[in-house]
């Protein structure tokens, strides 16, 4: 029976080929402490990638055990079941069944549940145990169960389910050694790969049942199991009740919500700035150093002006992204984010989105790329599409250098509201507002056209409040920065090289041509007729083309074109030249163009991956470009 199953499932071959590292999969519902346990077992030795063909992140970690034994631990997405309604559920099921390309099926499972909500969390137990793999059931947050007066008979539960059971507190680390001991057993090949026949109930396989019967059957089963194990549910958490009566208060709730949003903003735009200045300085200094240590040849220009400057323009946003994700991480792990989503849901629902869109939209103020990825938590596909469609309207930090340059050059620094707000600050605030208005309008439009649907439901589980683990937060930050640098870096790197090449041809006797005669200049002249109605010439045209790579690139490009030595947005020289060259109406038009147009290849690339095709990114790019063009045209006529 065992042998047959192994062959039939094309499953693990640990017994035939002991050299292969055993794989253990970590499964559990959301908010069960799964990722914390994963981090405690693997530490820094983990890799993040995507499952082939889908956008679900695949976390694989390496666990070292005693006597040189080791195995791979796969952290699966948090799921409630395997109805395959969401991508996460489909991937989890495929991994457990060994259907993922290039990945052997797991030799054993760790199923982790929050024991304080045992009855609810065990809904996942039946479909998981049905897989027939050796399983360790981890009862997490056991200390909290005891503290709140609950109890459960582990022995009875273990016998009833036919699994091993360990109690842990992933937060304090209690019980981790027992998990390691179990993994040690798997690594030794004791139980690995064996098919376990479990007699949970006389219920036929749930997949064969109509949907409600399957769930009802599972619930009854879980109820019986929980009763057999003498589960006494813990009393309500005093802390959670008290905090909820504050955070979800009719008056204080929304006030605290806005306070939190302001705090996140403040952190992105003030606390991250010294770090960004530091990185800017390092990139410039190291660029100078590379420049002076290389001979004056063509490749020096490529490395310094192309690669160094291009990649540097991306790295500079890393501090903002780190600060943002530190905050979001704290909010999420503490349990507040779920409450924030509930508070935001009413307003979001009115414009055609839902509460879960709050997190990606907030992230969009730092950078649209991680924000679009964050929208994966939205389980309704139409809501997710609408959210990632409007996310690039949020004023990301790449727009700031452009805004700063143009506002400083064209808007006088006069007070509008006494000493509290200058005209410049008012314009900046107006541009932020413009982005929000465009996003709301677009979401509204989408939900009545392309993404028209019956009203969806919004369900949010509110986990108990908990103190976030610093270790988990740090590992997540590390994760995010790696993903950001890899994803954005690749695109910017490529574009920087292409742009640089275009400035180098056609060659003249003196080497590189004047920028107007170069291939890039030619492109600018080709574009000129299109942007002439906006009051812009070929120079800005080149800037618009190069800033397709990333918005802030236009600052550097204009600097190069106008032959200004230091192409910093602070540089007074460039501001003066712009003031001479552009009409105020055209400048305001350009600001509006940058508020709307999707001048960001990284976003387009991420959109293509997240929607698995070119349709959505193309629709989005065209729509935003048109909006930007029309907006700039109107502004040029008015001012």
């Amino acid at each position: 029976m065992v042998e047959q199953d192994l062959v039939a499932s094309g499953g693990p071959a640990t017994k035939d080929a002991p050299a292969q590292t055993p794989i253990v999969a970590l499964v559990g519902p959301p908010n069960s402490g799964k990722t914390t346990l994963f981090n405690q077992l693997t530490g820094l030795r983990q890799k993040v990638a995507n499952y082939p063909g889908v956008t679900v992140e695949k976390h694989v970690g390496h666990v070292s055990l005693t006597e040189g034994r080791h195995l791979s631990l796969v952290d699966l997405p948090g799921v409630h079941g395997f109805s395959a309604r969401t991508l996460d559920e489909r991937v989890t099921r495929d991994v457990l069944e060994g259907k993922v390309e290039g990945m052997q099926s797991p030799d054993a499972l760790i199923l982790i549940v929050d024991v304080t909500r045992l009855e609810n969390q065990l809904m996942l137990v039946e479909p998981v145990l049905e897989m027939g793999l050796p399983t360790l059931l981890v009862l997490n947050m056991a200390d909290e169960l005891d503290a709140r007066g609950g109890s459960v008979d582990d022995q009875a539960l273990a016998e009833r389910l036919g699994v091993d059971i360990v109690r842990t507190s992933a937060r304090t680390g209690a019980g981790i050694d027992d998990v390691r001991a179990y993994l040690r057993g798997v690594a030794d090949g004791g139980t690995a790969g064996e098919h376990v026949e479990r007699e949970l109930s006389n219920v036929p396989a749930s997949t064969a049942l109509p949907v409600i019967d399957a769930f009802a059957a599972r619930r009854t089963l879980v109820r019986n199991i929980v009763q057999d194990a003498d589960f006494v549910p813990p009393g309500p958490s005093q802390l959670t009740e008290r905090l909820d009566s504050l955070f979800l208060h009719r008056l204080w709730g929304p006030l605290i919500f806005f306070g939190v949003v302001l705090l996140v903003f403040q952190s992105i735009f003030t606390w991250a700035v010294p770090l960004m200045d530091g990185i800017d300085w390092m990139v410039a200094t190291s660029g100078d150093w590379v420049s002076s240590s290389l001979p004056d040849t063509w490749y020096r220009s490529l490395i310094v002006d192309g690669v160094w400057a291009g990649v540097g323009s991306v790295i500079i946003f890393l501090p903002q992204i780190l600060v943002l994700f530190l905050f979001l991480g704290i909010l999420e792990d503490s349990g507040y984010m779920a409450r924030a989503a509930v508070i935001a849901d009413r307003a979001m629902y009115r414009v055609g989105l839902q509460g879960r869109a709050f997190l990606p939209l907030l992230s969009g103020y730092a950078c649209a790329v991680p924000a679009i990825l964050a929208a994966r938590t939205i389980d309704d596909e139409r809501d997710r599409l609408a959210t990632i469609f409007v996310t690039p309207f949020m004023t990301c930090s790449a727009r700031l250098p452009v805004y700063a340059l143009l506002i400083a050059a064209f808007i006088p620094n006069r007070p509008v509201l006494g000493p509290f707000m200058s005209q410049r600050a008012a314009v900046l605030l107006g541009l932020y507002g413009l982005g929000i208005v465009a996003a709301v309008f677009t979401a509204f439009l989408l939900k009545r056209t392309l993404l028209k649907a019956e009203p969806t439901s919004f369900l949010m589980e509110l986990p108990p409040y908990r103190i976030p683990s610093p270790r988990t937060l740090m590992l997540r930050l590390l994760d995010r920065s790696k993903i950001f640098l890899r994803r954005a870096g690749r695109i910017i790197f490529a574009v920087a090289i292409v742009l640089w090449t275009l400035t180098q041809f056609p060659r003249t006797e003196a080497g590189a041509p004047d920028i107007e005669q170069s291939a890039l200049g030619t492109i600018g002249h080709v574009i000129e007729p299109v942007i002439e109605p906006l009051g812009l010439d070929w120079r800005v045209g080149i800037g618009i083309v190069t800033s397709l790579a990333a918005r802030e690139v236009i600052v550097g490009t204009l600097g190069t074109i106008y032959g200004v030595e230091t192409a910093d947005e602070e540089a007074v020289a460039l501001q003066e030249i712009l003031r001479r060259d552009l009409e105020p109406g055209a400048a305001i038009g350009l600001l509006i163009f940058f508020a709307f147009a999707l001048q960001c290849m990284s976003t387009v690339a991420v959109m293509r991956r997240e929607t698995a095709g070119w349709k959505w990114p193309l629709v989005q790019f065209t729509y935003m470009l048109l909006l930007g063009y029309v907006g700039a045209f109107i502004a040029f006529r008015i001012f």
Partner: protein, 128 residues
């Protein structure tokens, strides 16, 4: 899929169908569970009682989900099934209910709460 949620045309009458199929599934052993009791005509008196009408802190029993399959499924997965007990514990600032179910807190929209047919627990059941 989906023979169960025809409730859109005929609200709250699918209970009988479900109980039928449950009995087939489980046989005799577990009929004492609340959801497997046969539903008598008297108990249908409050047929139009919805979760949205229930005052705070009053525990009720879910009778059926009056919504299409794809909307019901996430609820079912979280254990919101006919026969389970739900208690509204507070209301969000936007006026949406937050309910306690199986020891978890779940935030719903009031539109969803209006699709959940419930019935009051009689004092006899309350004691047990």
């Amino acid at each position: 899929m989906g023979r169960c949620f025809r409730a859109f045309e005929r609200p709250c009458t699918l209970v009988e169908i479900q109980f039928q199929s449950q009995r087939d599934l489980f046989g005799a052993g577990i009929t004492e569970l609340p959801m497997h009791r046969s539903v008598t005509a008297e108990e249908h008196q409050s047929e139009d009682l919805r979760l949205g009408d229930i005052p705070m802190q009053q525990e009720v029993e879910l009778v059926s989900l009056d919504m299409p399959d794809e909307l019901a499924e996430p609820l079912l997965e979280r254990g919101v099934l006919p026969g389970c007990r739900i208690c509204p514990v507070r209301s969000s600032p936007g006026g949406d209910p937050i309910v306690s179910i199986n020891g978890s807190l779940l935030a719903l929209r009031r539109e969803t709460a209006a699709c959940l047919c419930v019935k009051l627990l009689s004092s006899l059941q309350d004691a047990g």
